[in-house]
């Protein structure tokens, strides 16, 4: 059974259909790639699945056996879905440790009233959580920066922290929105290694949106291709590589260079 399944997922802003009728299945334990040109609806898809946007009527999203179509973001997160953002959206005035602790919010073992009273059980639970989170920071290599405000970190460290915050939710499904954007190839490779390491360690299912096709092709077991809000292809990398629709619609006509040059120069 699929971990995440969307049926007829649609969203329009004003008259513009950002996502229309996308059916998608993510199998548990896999790395699922989502590609498409700029503006093809990948980010909107993420926002819909994670509850940041409410989908249009007629859409259906199922996650881990729950219908999450009309759930709010925090409810979906509580069911075990975590995501990162292309622009990271870190809590920059909070410390690195606090950032991951916020990620762990749903796993808080005490009630709100208790937390407001600061009972000893709360302090104990917080202490345990702190240790656990330091362990996680150790794994992603940020333990030394635990009590530094997240805003002070460098670009690469921020990306790691964003990842750490998502992992701290102990999710079943992790959605990554362009994790490699802006990184040099070497760093992208490192990041992908970390992601795959985390996937093993925490038994995750991963959906990744990425522009760097090399990365997608080498790490994903299944790839879905979006174009103008619609899914135009889905399958293993080999299949996508040779899919006619993908090449035709998304990659453009494969004209020789000279022909294009002539077309541009009006000759």
């Amino acid at each position: 059974m699929a971990l995440l399944e969307t049926r007829g997922l649609s969203k329009s802003f004003g008259g513009l259909k950002a996502v229309s009728g996308v059916d998608l299945k993510v199998q548990p334990g896999t790395v699922h790639g989502l590609i498409g040109p700029n503006g093809s609806g990948k980010s909107t898809f993420f926002n819909l699945v994670t509850g940041v946007y409410q989908p249009d009527p007629g859409s259906h999203i199922e996650f881990d056996g729950h219908d999450i179509t009309n759930l709010q973001a925090h409810g979906i997160a509580a069911l075990g879905m975590a995501r990162t953002f292309q622009l990271l959206r870190l809590f920059s005035e909070m410390t690195v440790l606090e950032n991951v602790m916020v990620g762990n919010h749903c796993k808080t073992s005490y009630g709100i009233v208790e937390s407001l009273l600061g009972t000893s059980r709360v302090r104990q639970a917080d202490q345990n959580m702190k240790e656990e989170m330091l362990d996680l920071l150790e794994f992603i290599g940020l333990a030394n920066f635990a009590d530094i405000p997240a805003g002070e970190l460098s670009g690469g460290q921020r990306r790691l922290l964003a990842l750490g915050r998502a992992i701290a939710m102990k999710p079943k499904l992790l959605l990554l929105d362009e994790p490699g954007a802006g990184l040099s190839p070497v760093n992208v490779d490192k990041l992908m290694e970390t992601i795959l390491g985390l996937k093993e360690r925490y038994e995750l299912t991963v959906v990744v949106v990425e522009h760097i096709l090399k990365v997608v092709m080498s790490t994903c077991e299944t790839i879905s291709v979006l174009d103008h809000g619609q899914k135009i292809a889905e399958g293993p990398p080999e299949m996508i590589k040779n899919d006619h629709a993908v090449i035709e619609a998304y990659l453009g006509r494969e004209l020789p260079d000279d022909e294009i040059r002539n077309a541009i120069r009006g000759q």
């Binding site: 802006g182 990425e210 760097i212 090399k214 040779n242 990659l251 006509r253 294009i260 541009i264 009006g266």
Partner: protein
């Protein structure tokens, strides 16, 4: 025409550009290429004055323009064409175009130039009274280029004219850009669509992590396997390559 020396810039504490050197010759078409978040938009904003220069200098048409306000830079003839989504949706097409001519006081010539832009992009003439928010993506892109032309620029900087457009429309836009360059306007084009940009431009720079990694003539770069392999993802240029890998 445009001469950038060792420019550093960024937002607040965050430094994004770390020593950029770039040169655009008069009448030339130069491409600036790079993926998401590499700093190419920041460079464009730095040139047009929206982002302050921290170090280094920018020279345009024999004058130092680093440190000047954006509107002063526009008046000196260096005009940036913003990304397609950034028209004024609540204004009509013609109002948008007239806004482009804001810096000019020669109103009779402006009228003639408006006609010229309409000839360039006939679709705009048909929709002159329509709110630009209702235009299609390609039409908006034409509108913002036309708006840039209305300022009678010496040099035009285009920010990702191909973004989110169908390949056919991209071709049309690019052919228009080429036509503009033929009228003597110097062009700097910033693109993710590396193949198209390299086919249009004469010379290209590739930016990554705030520094220029590779530069060279378009002819050389388009055939350079290292360019295709390691730097340019998700673009027409290297898709075929990665698909076959």
């Amino acid at each position: 025409m445009l001469n950038i020396k060792e420019v550093h810039s960024g937002y607040g504490k965050l430094k994004i550009l770390r020593g950029i050197n770039l040169n655009v010759p008069q009448g030339g078409v130069v491409a600036l290429l790079g993926g998401n978040g590499t700093g190419k938009s920041t460079l464009l904003k730095t040139i047009s004055g929206l982002v302050p220069v921290m170090e280094g200098s920018i020279e345009f048409d024999g004058q130092i323009i680093s440190g000047k306000k954006p509107h002063e830079i526009v008046r000196s003839g260096l005009v940036q064409v913003t990304q397609s989504k950034e028209a004024y949706p609540a204004m009509t097409v013609e109002e948008n175009l007239m806004l482009g001519a804001y810096t000019r006081s020669d109103s009779s010539v402006v009228r003639a130039d408006l006609e010229r832009v309409y000839e360039f992009f006939p679709v705009l003439r048909q929709r002159r009274k329509v709110l630009s928010g209702t235009l299609s993506g390609g039409e908006v892109q034409m509108l913002v280029i036309g708006r840039g032309l209305m300022a009678k620029p010496k040099m035009l900087m285009l920010d990702e004219p191909s973004a989110a457009l169908a390949p056919k429309v991209v071709l049309e836009i690019f052919s228009n850009i080429y036509k503009i360059s033929q009228t003597g306007v110097t062009i700097l084009i910033v693109e993710q669509n590396v193949r198209m940009a390299l086919l249009l431009a004469q010379y290209a720079y590739i930016i990554r992590d705030g520094v220029i990694m590779i530069e060279g003539s378009a002819e050389d770069l388009i055939n350079d396997p290292s360019v295709k392999d390691s730097f340019l993802g998700g673009t027409v240029a290297n898709t075929k390559k990665s698909l076959n890998s």
